[in-house]
């Protein structure tokens, strides 16, 4: 069973159908790419998956395997299916989907550390009274938070900048921080919206490595939107192509590269030289 299955997902704004009857699935551990020309509806699809928009119709189902002990003490895996369509973004995040934004949406005036700590809030283990009184539990938990946040920041070589304001980071590091922040929510699926946008080839290459590394390290499933074909073709195992809100192709990178409809949709764009 796939980890995430999307069934006939549609979103219209007034008369305009931005995403039209999209059916797709992502298996556990996969790294799937979502490409398409400008205005194809990629970000809208992302916003649907993450609860920013409510679907007009269709469903988004998350199938999470969960280990359970039955009466005899045997460990069994049971798949729990959860409908994500129509959930609020914070509930989608709680269910296990985390995202980054195309036009970086960090908490600009907060420190790097706070950016990450805020994303950890949903897993916090103290309640309001401790927050008011700063009881022991509060201090222990806050220490754990900082420790964990620093570990995450280390991966992105940001821990020495943890006290810096997010807005003062260079562009590439801001993109990295956004990924770190998404990881801090402990996601099952990570959705990256054009993570390489605005990066030079060197930075993109480095990002490619990082993505592959965190995928292994955190046992992640990743869906990414990207314009940079070299990145998509290199790391994605499967690709979905969206045009005018509809899926026009799906398959392995090699198949997509030679797909006629994709080339047509991208005519004049850089798919051929990828």
């Amino acid at each position: 069973m796939p980890l995430l299955s999307v069934e006939k997902l549609t979103k219209s704004f007034g008369g305009l159908t931005a995403v039209s009857s999209v059916t797709m699935h992502i298996d556990k551990g996969e790294l799937v790419g979502l490409i398409g020309p400008n205005g194809a509806g990629k970000t809208t699809l992302f916003n649907l998956l993450t609860g920013v928009y409510e679907p007009t119709s269709g469903s988004i189902k998350l199938h999470l395997p969960q280990e359970e002990q039955d009466k005899d003490g045997k460990v069994k895996t049971k798949v729990i299916t959860k409908e994500l369509g129509g959930l609020k973004p914070y509930n989608v995040t709680k269910a296990g989907l985390a995202r980054t934004f195309q036009n970086i949406r960090l908490f600009k005036d907060l420190t790097v550390l706070d950016n990450v700590r805020i994303a950890m809030h949903q897993n916090i283990r103290y309640r309001l009274p401790s927050a008011f009184l700063h009881l022991n539990k509060f201090h222990n938990e806050e220490d754990r938070l900082v420790e964990e946040a620093e570990k995450l920041l280390d991966i992105f070589k940001l821990s020495h900048k943890k006290e810096e304001l997010a807005k003062n980071l260079p562009y590439g590091e801001q993109r990295h921080l956004e990924i770190a922040r998404a990881l801090a929510t402990k996601p099952v699926i990570l959705l990256l919206d054009e993570p390489a946008a605005g990066m030079n080839p060197n930075e993109t290459a480095e990002l490619t490595e990082t993505i592959e590394w965190i995928r292994k390290e955190f046992d992640l499933t990743i869906l990414l939107i990207e314009h940079d074909m070299s990145l998509v073709m290199k790391i994605c195992e499967r690709i979905y192509v969206l045009d005018y809100g509809m899926l026009i192709a799906s398959g392995k990178p090699a198949e997509i590269r030679t797909n006629k409809r994709v080339i047509e949709a991208y005519l004049g764009e850089e798919v051929s030289n990828a």
């Binding site: 993450t50 609860g51 920013v52 609020k88 973004p89 914070y90 995040t93 709680k94 985390a98 995202r99 934004f101 949406r105 960090l106 908490f107 600009k108 005036d109 907060l110 706070d114 700590r117 805020i118 994303a119 950890m120 809030h121 949903q122 916090i124 103290y126 309001l128 401790s130 927050a131 008011f132 009184l133 700063h134 009881l135 022991n136 509060f138 201090h139 938990e141 806050e142 938070l145 922040r181 998404a182 801090a184 929510t185």
Partner: protein, 316 residues
């Protein structure tokens, strides 16, 4: 509890010293009863400003109705101490006033906090006006004539005590994960939601905590000035509190405390010249917004300045 850190001991000693010095000055008569009113105003304004700062400065929800919650605390407390004229009655009145203000805050907050920016500002303003009109028409609050002869239990000790409690509690809250959740809403509501923050819940929470302490402030006001009428808590009162918060810096507890002191002194100094005081006030607002929109302290706190110095020492 990690109560015995060096910093906490310093804070505790500072609080005790402040209390003792002012108490001493009152006892020997250097601070006259006229100046005591200024001190009472400072304490109440600190409570009001810090609690509004939580809503507007930290959570980013623009409220123009803080005086509404204050009036609820004031009337509830006044009605209770007028029946139970004792310190216990006074404390019960404060608690009851604060709780009723909180409940009203939650009831009003749930529908209105869906609104953003200017719209929320206007809705909260309207809400405070509604509360005022209700008090104007209720029999138990004696309508426009108001309540007089409320027993005076609030004194320097209690005013100071509650101001300190307010500042410490709200400061602790802001520096907790829950507080950071509130701040993330101010920074970017959509990003906050995507990071798993139930923004509605934390907006209402900030609103409720703010309303609670505004209720405390109002209760102290009622018991110190022993006279209440609905028009004390009009639109201007909300603006007064907002001016303190903005002047001190949206998002700085230290700023609110300092600004509350400065403005209370200015008010006392210009007691006899109401119009000039208000004109100065108005100019101050415009000039601050044009030249220093972040207020005196921005989002910095007193300890940030010490941190800054340490950082430099390390570099040298």
């Amino acid at each position: 509890m990690r109560a015995l850190t060096k910093k906490n001991i310093l804070i505790f000693v500072g609080i005790l010293l402040t209390f003792a010095i002012v108490q001493g000055l009152i006892s020997v008569g250097i601070i006259s009863s006229f100046h005591e009113i200024t001190i009472a105003l400072i304490c109440i304004n600190i409570i009001m400003a810090v609690s509004l700062n939580l809503i507007t400065g930290f959570t980013g929800q623009f409220s123009l109705g803080h005086a509404g919650f204050m009036s609820i605390g004031a009337y509830v407390c006044a009605l209770i101490i007028m029946r139970y004229d004792s310190t216990a009655g006074f404390l019960m009145g404060i608690l009851a006033g604060a709780l009723v203000a909180t409940i009203v805050g939650i009831l009003i907050g749930i529908p209105t906090l869906r609104l953003k920016g200017d719209y929320l500002a206007i809705a909260t303003l309207g809400m405070a006006e509604i509360i005022r009109v209700v008090f104007l028409n209720l029999e138990i609050t004696n309508g426009a004539a108001g309540l007089s002869g409320i027993p005076r239990h609030a004194n320097w000790f209690w005013l100071f005590f509650f101001a300190v409690i307010t500042v410490l509690t709200i400061n602790n809250f802001i520096r907790s994960s829950h507080g950071r959740a509130c701040i993330s809403i101010r920074e970017d509501e959509i990003a906050a939601e995507s990071m798993g923050i139930n923004t509605t819940k934390y907006k209402v929470m900030a609103f409720a905590i703010g309303a609670f302490f505004a209720g405390v402030g109002g209760a102290l006001y009622a018991s110190y000035f022993y006279f209440l009428k609905p028009n004390i808590f009009g639109f201007m009162k909300s603006i007064d509190i907002l001016v303190i918060v903005v002047l001190g810096g949206l998002g700085s507890v230290t700023g609110s405390v300092v600004a509350a002191i400065l403005l209370a002194l200015l008010t006392t100094f210009l007691q006899a010249f109401t119009e000039i005081r208000m004109i100065l006030y108005a100019l101050l607002l415009v000039v601050i917004m044009i030249f220093r929109p972040q207020g005196l302290f921005g989002t910095k706190e007193i300890n940030d300045f010490f941190k800054f110095r340490k950082k430099h020492e390390r570099i040298e």
